[in-house]
């Protein structure tokens, strides 16, 4: 087990209190239940962004997370609608399938580095969208609609998760589910980073040849990391499909892939919780600017550029002292 400092325990407790008690209370008090949906989206995007962050951790720029999110969403949707499988079973299957595809695709493309890898993952997103349009099982541009809400999950007759369609507020249920998933994702991420694997990843980030010369099995690690990353993407996408109750080829596009990358950059690549913060800021920033109407995009992109100009190492670099050349 990891030993956490008392400060970290306090932080963890504050996180739980905030997410599971204070936020629902505020929402209940203000009556704005639509905020549940917004926060759920933030949580899911943060899960997918966590995967992107992990590939950054081995020194690869991943702009292909949208592809795996789309894949996860379709796998879960097809299993639930065509095979009548329970959503709770289809969720891990969607993640595992995305990881499996990531291994197949990763074998050739993970040999690429730097800009080459960034470009091919970007192309990958576009290709998955095109594939979803062309294949018969995905139902083309019409997509898969009216996916049923997640059903009951019970073990030995004890109900663990109630049937979502019987709840009076399924959005709240989705919110709690996502919060738990997000917590698990980031706990796993933290565990990976602070383990032997994390050390090996950092050594690869700095110099792959050197790492391999001292006995690090780099081809194994990069495929493992890419698979974990895509697993997160698949889970996030599957959950998204279930909440929206529909999946279209345009559910996750190139712009979404770029946004996942932006979340990581904005939060800061050196910090595990960077992508979570980045997602929150970007998503709410975009929502707040909605008031500006047609100037929304203009102001949003200008802010991005200005932010990049003055804080090129991410938001969290404000608080923490700069580590000299940590990225190189």
């Amino acid at each position: 087990m990891l030993k956490l400092t008392s400060l970290q325990w306090i932080g963890l407790a504050a996180f739980f209190l905030g997410v599971f008690v204070i936020v629902p209370m505020i929402i209940a008090a203000s009556g704005r239940t639509d905020l549940f949906f917004t926060l759920t989206s933030v949580g899911l995007l943060a899960i997918a962004s966590a995967g992107v962050w992990l590939t950054f951790y081995i020194g690869r720029i991943n702009i292909g997370q949208g592809a795996f999110a789309l894949l996860g969403a379709y796998v879960s949707a097809i299993l639930v609608t065509k095979a009548g499988m329970s959503f709770w079973l289809s969720l891990p299957i969607a993640g595992l399938f995305a990881a499996f595809v990531a291994v197949l695709i990763g074998l050739p493309i993970l040999r690429l580095r730097g800009v080459y890898f960034a470009m091919i993952t970007l192309v990958l997103t576009q290709v998955f969208t095109l594939t979803a349009l062309a294949l018969p099982i995905t139902n083309g541009a019409k997509g898969i609609t009216s996916i049923p809400l997640p059903g009951e999950l019970s073990i030995l007759g004890i109900t663990l998760i109630p049937d979502f369609s019987t709840l009076e507020n399924p959005r709240q249920a989705f919110y709690f589910t996502t919060a738990v998933l997000m917590f698990l994702t980031y706990a796993a991420l933290y565990r990976i980073v602070n383990s032997r694997l994390g050390h090996l990843c950092r050594s690869m980030q700095q110099n792959e040849e050197l790492a391999s010369s001292i006995g690090v099995n780099i081809s194994y690690i990069r495929i493992l990391i890419f698979a974990i990353s895509s697993f997160f993407g698949g889970i996030g996408g599957a959950m998204f499909g279930s909440i929206a109750q529909s999946v279209y080829p345009s559910s996750f596009q190139v712009a979404d892939s770029v946004n996942f990358m932006l979340n990581c950059f904005l939060g800061g690549l050196g910090y595990v919780f960077g992508p979570m913060l980045g997602t929150l800021v970007l998503y709410f920033g975009w929502d707040l600017l909605f008031e500006l109407g047609k100037y929304q995009m203009l102001v949003y992109s200008s802010l991005l550029i200005i932010l990049m100009l003055f804080l090129p190492n991410g938001l969290l670099s404000l608080r923490l002292p700069k580590k000299g050349g940590s990225g190189k």
């Binding site: 970007l122 062309a134 690549l269 995009m297």
Partner: protein, 289 residues
């Protein structure tokens, strides 16, 4: 068959020009310019404004596209990319900046020109018809010739002019170029501006045939990335080869695979993956460019 080859040459010439600008910027500054497609769209809209709206001659529109994008590129390099490269601890930060710029250009184009498809009157009328084996409108032939001429003059410029020599030295080794007395900051700016100008020029040329609309930017960037990957990043000959190869693949794919639906790009991507598994640096790229 002749038709497919002619289409391939036509597509390849314009693709090669787009890839040239992208690869130039990448070679000089190690920046992956996400906004390249948007610069191309912007160039198209400038020509549309001057030629289609204000009634200037077509060549004047093209020149305006080049000038506008050249100045824009220079300003962007000077005030955005150069400071970020200096301050950031990671190279990749420039990618976020480029992505932000892509969004920014999209927003500007939307506000200035709207989201409708825009076209301009034809520059030359008539269709070249060789026995119904090869049918090609004259304006396409003209644009194709102009594109090839631009590529040739760009290569000559890079090969023989003082600026071109400096740019090539910079692409080879930044520090060595600086030690030899090349003004690195100035030539980075010129290089970026040239890359942006090439994108604007293609946009201006193609507005006469395909027209221009807001949504063209992103897909164009993606195609440009594919070409650069085929040819090898940062190599001029590679960009030209990549552009021509992708042009031919697309022309052949659209002709042969059309009965199976929209799978041309799927096939191109699968072959690209197999190709990259064998040769990760592309046809002519340096390993790990």
């Amino acid at each position: 068959m002749e038709q497919i080859l002619a289409n391939g040459v036509y597509l390849g010439a314009q693709y090669a020009m787009i890839a040239l600008g992208l690869t130039l910027i990448f070679a000089l500054m190690n920046v992956l310019n996400f906004a390249h497609g948007q610069m191309y769209v912007l160039g198209g809209f400038v020509t549309y404004t001057f030629y289609g709206q204000l009634g200037f001659p077509f060549v004047a529109g093209l020149v305006m596209s080049c000038v506008t994008l050249f100045i824009l590129g220079a300003l962007i390099e000077r005030f955005l990319f150069a400071p970020v490269i200096r301050r950031s601890s990671r190279d990749e930060s420039t990618m976020l900046l480029a992505a932000g710029l892509a969004f920014f250009f999209d927003a500007v184009i939307l506000l200035l020109f709207g989201e409708k498809q825009r076209g301009v009157p034809k520059i030359v009328n008539g269709v070249f018809n060789w026995d119904f084996r090869l049918i090609m409108p004259y304006d396409r032939i003209l644009i194709c010739v102009l594109a090839i001429l631009s590529i040739v003059s760009f290569i000559l410029f890079m090969q023989y002019s003082k600026t071109g020599r400096a740019l090539r030295a910079l692409a080879q080794d930044r520090t060595a170029a600086q030690l030899m007395g090349v003004n690195v900051d100035r030539y980075s700016m010129i290089g970026f501006a040239l890359g942006a100008m090439l994108a604007g020029l293609v946009g201006g040329l193609l507005v006469t045939i395909t027209g221009v609309n807001l949504g063209m930017g992103g897909p164009t960037s993606i195609k440009a990335f594919m070409m650069v990957m085929i040819g090898g990043a940062g190599v001029i000959s590679g960009a030209i080869a990549g552009g021509i190869i992708l042009g031919f693949l697309e022309a052949i794919g659209l002709a042969v695979l059309s009965q199976y639906g929209d799978i041309t790009y799927l096939m191109i991507f699968v072959s690209l993956m197999i190709f990259l598994a064998i040769r990760p640096q592309g046809l002519m790229g340096k390993p790990w460019g």
